[in-house]
Every structure is written in structure tokens, then in C-alpha cells.
Amino acid sequence: MTTPYINIRNLTKKFAQHPVLNQLDLTINAGEIVAILGENGAGKTTLLNLMLGLMPADSGEIQLFGQPASALQQSMALRANIGVMLQQASLPGNLTVLEHLELFSCYYPNPRPLPELIQSCGLSDIVQQRFASLSGGQKQAVLFALAIIGKPVLLFLDEPTVGLDVAARQAFWQQIRQAKADGISVVLTTHYLEEADQLASRILVLKNGHFIADGSPAQLKAFGLTRQICCCTRLSQTLISSWPEVQRVAQLEGQPAAQLDTPKNAASGQQLQIHSRQPEQTLRRLLALDEQLADLTVSGVSLEQAFLQLTQAQEHSA
């Protein structure tokens, strides 16, 4: 069993007495592509900074390549084996892309040859432009190139596609897939479900300071395909929740379902919100059973709702 790339035990980090990360455990081995999924403010960037030794933990242990993360500051060898794209980083705007690449490549004894890197990262057109004049997507591309210039074995990407348009995002995913093909392990944080889905072999969901889910995309796909059906129906919530593909039924005004399951409301119908894994099946049932079905909308489930499902699924299975 080789040393895991990342090994975190019982990590706690508090900001002003409030625990952002609470007794968190994590192990990442070579060859994994891991996405850490979480809402804004969940602590993803904090976790990344802790893994890189940029801030101290309040308690717990963080190991990188079997060494404490704090050793990163002292060891050139450790630093050469990782590549990082930080969310808030930007480069001196006055220098051109080529000048940045040239400088960064000097840090490594055996960097990737620049012509090949420029080609494969798609920087050929902008090589002579000053960094400040680049678009958001182009800047991210340059930062990515700098992250992989030293031929790292492990790449850390912090919300790499925030603020990019669809085309830029797609181009970026292509870069990561290329890195994956080159044998580089990746840890990336994101709040885009689809991104995690597209890229990762393993997704960790961070909420309330620890991971509430840890699994392959297939598991999340299940929740990703969950659709939300809103309608006004006379059918009882109890009936609808009994259908096997239905995950959850809620009354739209927020009143608990039980209170409304009374005969005197049956005739007027109620606004319901139904989460269904197989929405077509649920729709067929509704339309068949309730001729007066009204206000029908079908939409995707938000991440929040998917997470809720995940949580509840875990609790139910426990």
C-alpha cells in the first residue's frame, strides 16, 4: 500500500469560534480525480488552504505525500510535485504570458518545454499579450499552464471555472481531461454539480464542516436526474409519496403534508412539490389519476435539494 497523496485526520478549523471544518477526515490516493463539492461558504477554499499548509489547523492532522502539510514551506521537492491554481490569485499585469511562463519554468529543474505547453494549453494566440489585457478565460488558462509547468503529480484547483462562460468552461474541462490522461491526480473544489460530474472519479460533498457524501458520480447522477414537479392536485400526499420513484413530497406554502390530508381540502386541491427520480413515470400516474391536475411545471432539482436528498438518504440508510 503506497503512501496516500493526501491524508487528513480529525481536522478542525474555527473562524471566530465558529467551526468551519469540524473533525473532517479525508484520504486521497494516487490516480484519483477528486471533486470537493459545496455551496459558497462551505469551507472548500479553507480546506484547500489547509492542505497546502497556507494556514494552521486548530486540531487534527494533515499529511501531504506522507509529510505534514506545514513541511511544504520548507521543502522545494514537495512544492515541485504539486501544481496549484488559487481562486484569488492574479499575476503582475505588466508582464506578457510568455514572460510569466519563462519565469515560472525557471523554478523547476525539469519543466515542460514551453512550446509544447503553449500548444497544449491553447495559449499560442495570446503568448505576447500582457496578462492584464487577457479575458477571464484566458487568464485561467495561463494560471493552469503555470500549475502544470513543473510536471506535478498532484494538481489543486480552487473553483477554476468561476466567472467563465460556457465555451471557456468547456475548454478548461478539456485541459483537465488532458492532465488526467497525462497521469496527474487532481483535487478540485467547485460548486457546479455538472463540473464535478464531468471531471471527477470521486465526489465529496462538504456541508456543515464535514463530508456528508463521498462517492462516485454515478451516485450523484441519481440525484442529478431528479426532477421537481410542481402541480395543483386533489391527490393526497400520502398516495404520491408511496410511489417508489418519488423521493419527497412537500406542500408549497410550507405547511406539513399531514395537516392537509383532510377530506374538506380534497376537493379544492393543493399546491405540491414532488421530487421524482423518474419524472415521466410520476407524470403519467398524476395525469391518469387526476383529470383536474393544474399548474403543472417540471424543473431540475437544485443542488441544495439534491444535497438534502443525499442527507436524508444517508440518514435513512443508517
Partner: protein
């Protein structure tokens, strides 16, 4: 599939190597130093907000106070003090303001994570500051020779240039401490608030013996005063204090700022 370059030699050992540059060959090290210097120089050179004031102000003030408005006999004295004033600028601003800005942009963090040696970064900044300082000194020399009728022995011209350049060191460290401590927004204001009074109260704008007695006493506390006096001793126009006292004061200031800067650096690292 390309096998990534797994240079794990430093990792499997029981202890972590606290390496600076043990693993780059000498030519690679040299290239790194040159690249850092070149990058910093290009950054500075392409910032009109840095270049213009650095080069123009000392020349302008020297021509004003040292050549055209002086009653004569002061052009060589003021050349020396304005050289000191001029080289303090790049030192304080490149290390003070630019480090604060680069820190706030996350550039320093990126370098911290990459195997970028801090010493190379500082070396690069030092070189670019010195090159600017040299240009300023040469410009002032030209003004002095052409307009101020200043004549010095060649050894004095050279000695003055050399001494003034070496004397930027305490100010580079001073700037570095400020840059690591201040925010990017506060840095320009604070550095300006320090730079100009430091120069004036140290007797670099107007000769120190024009200032009232208590101000002359106060100047003993200022590195700019000792810098100016040491430089003036090259042409024999310093006050009666022995030159080694000024040198000692500058050495003390250098050590003080080095300690403060390295402390601020460690606090920045925060681990």
C-alpha cells in the same frame, strides 16, 4: 501516457530538507536569478506610475534647489544629498509598495507554493531597484556636470556612485518590512508619508546646517541623515562627526530592518 516527473527524492527521507537552491544546477540557478531580475525590471519599467516619479523628481528637485535657486557653492553638496534622496525612492517603493501589491494579488502566495526561493525574488527586486538607482545617479551626475558646474575627481564620482548604491540596502529592507506589513491600499500613502519627511528631516533636501539645532539633533535618529553624511564625506562636506559613526548607524538600521522584515515574513507565512 507521459510519466510525470516524480522527484520524490527529498520526500522519502526521514527528515525534511530545508532547502533553498540545492537541487537546481549552477547554470539553472543563475538563470533563475536573472529571470527574477528581468521580470521585476520589466514590471517596473512598464509602470509609468513608478518610472516617472522615480526618475523625474530627484532630477527636477536637484535642478531647482541645487542649480538654479542656489546661491552658489552648494551644487556639489546638493548633488550628493539628492543622489541619496533619489536612490531611496526605488528602494522604498519597489520593496514597499510593490511587495504589498504583489502580496494582495496573491502573487506571493503563488510563489510560496511553487518551488520559488524567496531569496531569488528578493534578489530580483534588489537588482531592479539598483538599476533604477544607477540610472537616477547617472542622470543627476549629468545635470551636475552640465548645469551645476560640479567638478569632482574621477575617484570621487565613482566612489560616490558606489557608496550611494550600496547604501540603498537598509532602505530596501525598510521597504520590505513595510510591504509585508501594510495592505496594498495603505502602502502608497504610508510609504510616501515616510519617504519625503525622512529625506527632508535627514537634511537631504536642504543642507542640514540650515535646519534649527533641535532638528539637527533629531536627525541623528534617521538613517537618511547618516546616509547623506556618509556620502558627503566623499567630497569632504560632511559635518564634523566621524564617518564610521554614520556607517555604524546604517549597519544598525540594516540589521534592525532585516530582523523586522524576516519576522513579518514569517508571520505572513502563518504556519
Amino acid at each position: 501516457m507521459n510519466t510525470p516527473n516524480i522527484n520524490m527524492s527529498g520526500i522519502d527521507l526521514p527528515g525534511i530538507k530545508t532547502a533553498t537552491l540545492p537541487w537546481l544546477s549552477w547554470p539553472q540557478t543563475l538563470k533563475l536569478l536573472l529571470m527574477e531580475a528581468k521580470s521585476d525590471l520589466l514590471t517596473l519599467w512598464r509602470s509609468p506610475g513608478f518610472v516617472a516619479p522615480s526618475l523625474i523628481f530627484p532630477v527636477m528637485f536637484y535642478l531647482l534647489f541645487g542649480v538654479f535657486l542656489t546661491k552658489g557653492g552648494q551644487s556639489d553638496y546638493l548633488l550628493v544629498t539628492y543622489c541619496c534622496f533619489g536612490v531611496m525612492g526605488p528602494a522604498l517603493f519597489n520593496f514597499g509598495v510593490n511587495v504589498a501589491t504583489e502580496k494582495s494579488q496573491g502573487w506571493l502566495t503563488m510563489k510560496q507554493i511553487a518551488p520559488a526561493p524567496v531569496s531569488a525574488y528578493l534578489f530580483g527586486k534588489m537588482v531592479s531597484s539598483l538599476l533604477f538607482a544607477l540610472v537616477i545617479v547617472l542622470l543627476l551626475f549629468v545635470c551636475a556636470a552640465l548645469f551645476g558646474d560640479v567638478r569632482l575627481y574621477t575617484s570621487q564620482w565613482l566612489g560616490l556612485a558606489g557608496l550611494v548604491l550600496v547604501g540603498t540596502l537598509p532602505f530596501c529592507l525598510f521597504g520590505l518590512w513595510l510591504g509585508l506589513t501594510l495592505s496594498a491600499k495603505a502602502a502608497p500613502a504610508v510609504v510616501n508619508l515616510i519617504y519625503l519627511p525622512l529625506a527632508f528631516l535627514g537634511g537631504l533636501w536642504l543642507p542640514i546646517h540650515i535646519l534649527p539645532g533641535f532638528m539637527q539633533q533629531f536627525a541623528q535618529l534617521l538613517p537618511s541623515f547618516h546616509f547623506g553624511q556618509l556620502a558627503l564625506s566623499v567630497i569632504g562636506r560632511d559635518l564634523a562627526q566621524p564617518w564610521w559613526q554614520h556607517l555604524l548607524a546604517l549597519i544598525v538600521f540594516t540589521l534592525l530592518f532585516a530582523v523586522l522584515a524576516s519576522r513579518a515574513f514569517r508571520q505572513n507565512r502563518s504556519v
